[in-house]
């Protein structure tokens, strides 16, 4: 019985504990309200910048493609204007409107929730063999924000991404960044100089994946008597480049470099640091130097000894700093585009599908065509075999070059030129005549008008 009494005594303790009303709360508001307040604050911050924001955008997992400068102008009505320093689905620096929002997830997440051909260019997938496309995020967790800088993390790829308040002319900023890219991307090989001594080499990536020239370099040098190699992603700036992570050698941390195109030297601009990347490549023509009207000399036989026919053609910007459209080769009214790539002062003209008929799926090919091999001629449906420019010269102010085999067809075959032909898969549907009534273009030579 006594036991029961004690039990009764316990009851009030239990009841009181269970119903205690005056808990100290860590926060004044419930979580949903706090989240909403934070979201509202960020919305005010984003829409409050009169000139919008610039983002150091890193697509691809582990920053593998390097960084690209983007412009955003957020409006309170849910619209956003976006532009990118490089050509995406639209030309470089063209602004396209879509919508944005901030939603709660792992903290506030900025999302771009209707299609924007600039931003979503970095995320769109178009083949089963590359299921993440350019690997770009379009949803960003806000990690931290100050009045003029917002620190984000890509929701899927978890790349750290920084956005800062744009100055008075953000589009001019993008233009200047493009200019740096246009100048510096022509060169690959540099000596790495630290404290006045050459300690190794820096090789800029020349890989173009999904039309993005990868913005990273591989530095190799001797560190504590060990040969060291590291690859670092970067983004172009008005002055030069900014590395995604510090390049640390013998206790010296480098992050910012200014580029001098006359000397072709990157000089570290971090205070008190004496480091340079000195170009060892000879001076070459820039992407934009090739733009213009040309006379193209060519032959219609792969055994011709000279290129005597001529056509008026033009190299028109397709993807700025990446590719050109070669106009004037196809018959008038013929659908299709012939693209050339720019790489380190040279042009590549590769086998390519110029057009796919939407109704039938038939492909119109620019087909690499060989020199005779033991009396026979060969063609290949390859998009890596083709021709590359040599003897590029602009000494009289006019660009001249000719195209030769790029060597990608192995040792037996050598590209002499191209054939225009329609295909249903691998079945030929016959040759197609070009501008001058012939399906062949051999031994092309270009001279700017």
């Amino acid at each position: 019985m006594k036991l029961i009494k004690y039990l009764f005594l316990f009851i009030p303790i239990i009841v009181i504990t269970a119903c205690v009303k005056d808990e100290e709360t860590l926060f004044n508001d419930p979580p949903a309200i706090r989240m909403q307040k934070t979201i509202d604050e960020y919305k005010t911050l984003l829409t409050g910048s009169a000139n919008g924001w610039i983002m150091d955008y890193y697509p691809e997992v582990s920053y593998a493609a390097g960084g690209f400068s983007m412009y955003y102008k957020f409006s309170a009505d849910g619209n956003v204007d976006i532009a990118c320093e490089i050509a995406t689905n639209v030309p470089a620096r063209q602004t396209v409107a879509s919508t944005w929002d901030i939603i709660p997830y792992q903290g506030p997440v900025i999302t771009f929730d209707t299609y924007n051909p600039v931003l979503h260019y970095f995320s769109e997938v178009s083949s089963t063999s590359d299921r993440d496309g350019r690997g770009g995020d379009y949803e960003f967790v806000v990690m931290k924000a100050t009045q003029d800088t917002i620190y984000l993390k890509g929701l899927k790829n978890e790349n750290k991404i920084v956005m800062w308040k744009a100055g008075s002319d953000p589009m001019d900023y993008l233009k200047q960044v493009s200019n740096t890219y246009n100048k510096a991307n022509a060169y690959k090989n540099f000596n790495f100089e630290l404290g006045g001594n050459i300690i190794g080499k820096v090789v800029m990536s020349s890989a173009i994946t999904n039309d993005l020239l990868n913005r990273k370099f591989t530095a190799s040098y001797t560190k504590n008597d060990k040969d060291t190699t590291e690859t670092i992603a970067f983004i172009y700036t008005v002055e030069g480049i900014r590395l995604n992570t510090d390049l640390v050698v013998n206790g010296v941390s480098m992050r910012h470099f200014a580029y001098d195109d006359t000397e072709r030297i990157f000089t570290c601009s971090d205070p008190g640091i004496k480091a340079r990347f000195i170009c060892t490549d000879k001076q070459v023509l820039k992407y934009e130097d090739f733009l213009g009207d040309y006379v193209m000399y060519y032959a219609v036989s792969n055994t011709a000894t000279s290129s005597t026919r001529t056509l008026d053609v033009s190299l028109v910007a397709e993807k700025e700093n990446i590719s050109y459209c070669l106009e004037g080769l196809l018959a008038t009214g013929s659908p299709g585009k012939i693209l050339l790539q720019y790489s380190g002062g040279n042009l590549q003209l590769l086998g390519q599908i110029m057009y796919t008929a939407p109704e039938t799926g038939y492909n119109f090919w620019l087909l690499p065509y060989s020199f005779p091999v033991a009396g026979s001629n060969y063609i290949t449906q390859s998009t890596t075999v083709g021709m590359t420019s040599i003897d590029v010269d602009s000494s009289d102010g006019k660009v001249k070059f000719r195209m030769v085999n790029n060597g990608a067809w192995g040792t037996t075959y050598s590209v002499a030129g191209f054939l225009l032909r329609n295909y249903n898969g691998s079945t030929s549907l016959g040759n197609v005549n070009g501008k001058d009534g012939q399906p062949f273009y051999f031994f092309p030579i270009f001279e700017m008008k």
């Binding site: 009764f8 009851i11 009030p12 009841v15 949903a32 909403q36 209707t114 979503h120 496309g133 379009y138």
Partner: protein
């Protein structure tokens, strides 16, 4: 002593109720979507929400999608055009035949538009359905004006799938005669259905390889293909099926016809005529991208 104990217990009980009384609920702390309604939003409200109680999400929150795929948001103009086509060929047909109240009772509740297809290692997903609630339309940004008014293309890409899934919604409410499953009995392969090609499937009395998955999928395949692919296609299937296969297919179609008539007051042939008419009229639909 016993009594005192009782009173004490009662007192505590009273205190418990008093101290733990519920607070009144205030307004929700979760804010509504604050974005401004566009012309498309208003159209969706008038054409999907009000008549059919279906919400069309054309904005994409990637974090709400299947994380196995990398998808991007859809172009609103193309989403709008597709919403018009889907209304014309699916919801509008059901509405015209059975009335909008029927759709309010029995329908998907959400459509989600996605800009790109969902890419697997070897295959591309055009549309998915989950739980009889949500239909995901993939690859919306790839649609061109002449695709949208091309009835065969739209049927192949999205509309047949919608009728397939809609059949599931209906046959989960009212069951199909169990004898349906006996017609092909041991020929159902479950997840191994991909090992069979169309010709073999037809000869065994299946309208498609996927129909060989299970009686439920068989029924949805048969119904959707019979309604959406047209009489010529059906005749071809019967021809390919041979005598034995065709007999099974006809027996299955008879059960389906009876089921829709008795359970839903739908004459499947009349419904198909109506669908055929709308297919023919699609070319005149103003999709207005």
């Amino acid at each position: 002593m016993k009594n005192i104990g009782k009173y004490i217990v009662l007192l505590f009980l009273f205190m418990t109720f008093w101290s733990c009384k519920e607070e009144e609920l205030g307004p929700s702390v979760i804010s509504d979507d604050s974005s401004v309604a566009t012309a498309f939003d208003i159209w969706l409200n008038d054409n999907y929400v009000k008549p059919y109680n279906i919400k069309v999400y054309y904005k994409l929150k990637d974090i709400q999608t299947n994380r196995d795929y990398n998808v991007i948001p859809a172009d609103p103009a193309k989403s709008w055009a597709l919403a018009k086509v889907v209304k014309f060929l699916w919801a509008g047909t059901v509405d015209e035949y059975s009335g909008s109240d029927f759709l309010k009772m029995y329908s998907f509740r959400e459509f989600q538009m996605e800009g790109t297809y969902e890419y697997n290692a070897n295959t591309i997903i055009l549309a998915t359905a989950s739980g009889g609630i949500k239909i995901v339309f993939c690859g919306v940004n790839n649609l061109r004006l002449n695709d949208l008014t091309n009835a065969d293309y739209m049927v192949q890409t999205y509309i047949k799938t919608m009728y397939h899934e809609y059949t599931h919604i209906l046959n989960q409410k009212k069951v199909v005669d169990a004898t349906y499953g006996n017609i092909s009995g041991s020929d159902y392969l479950g997840d191994d259905w991909t090992t069979r090609n169309t010709a073999t499937a037809n000869s065994l009395g299946f309208v498609s390889p996927y129909a060989g998955h299970s009686p439920g999928e068989d029924f949805a395949e048969l119904t959707s293909i019979y309604i959406t692919f047209g009489q010529n296609n059906w005749d071809n299937i019967l021809k390919n099926a041979g005598t034995a296969g065709a007999a099974k297919l006809s027996e299955k179609l008879d059960i389906a016809t009876t089921y829709f008539k008795n359970s839903w007051d739908i004459d499947i042939n009349e419904f198909r005529k109506l669908f055929e008419q709308r297919k023919a009229d699609l070319i005149n639909l103003d999709v207005n991208i």
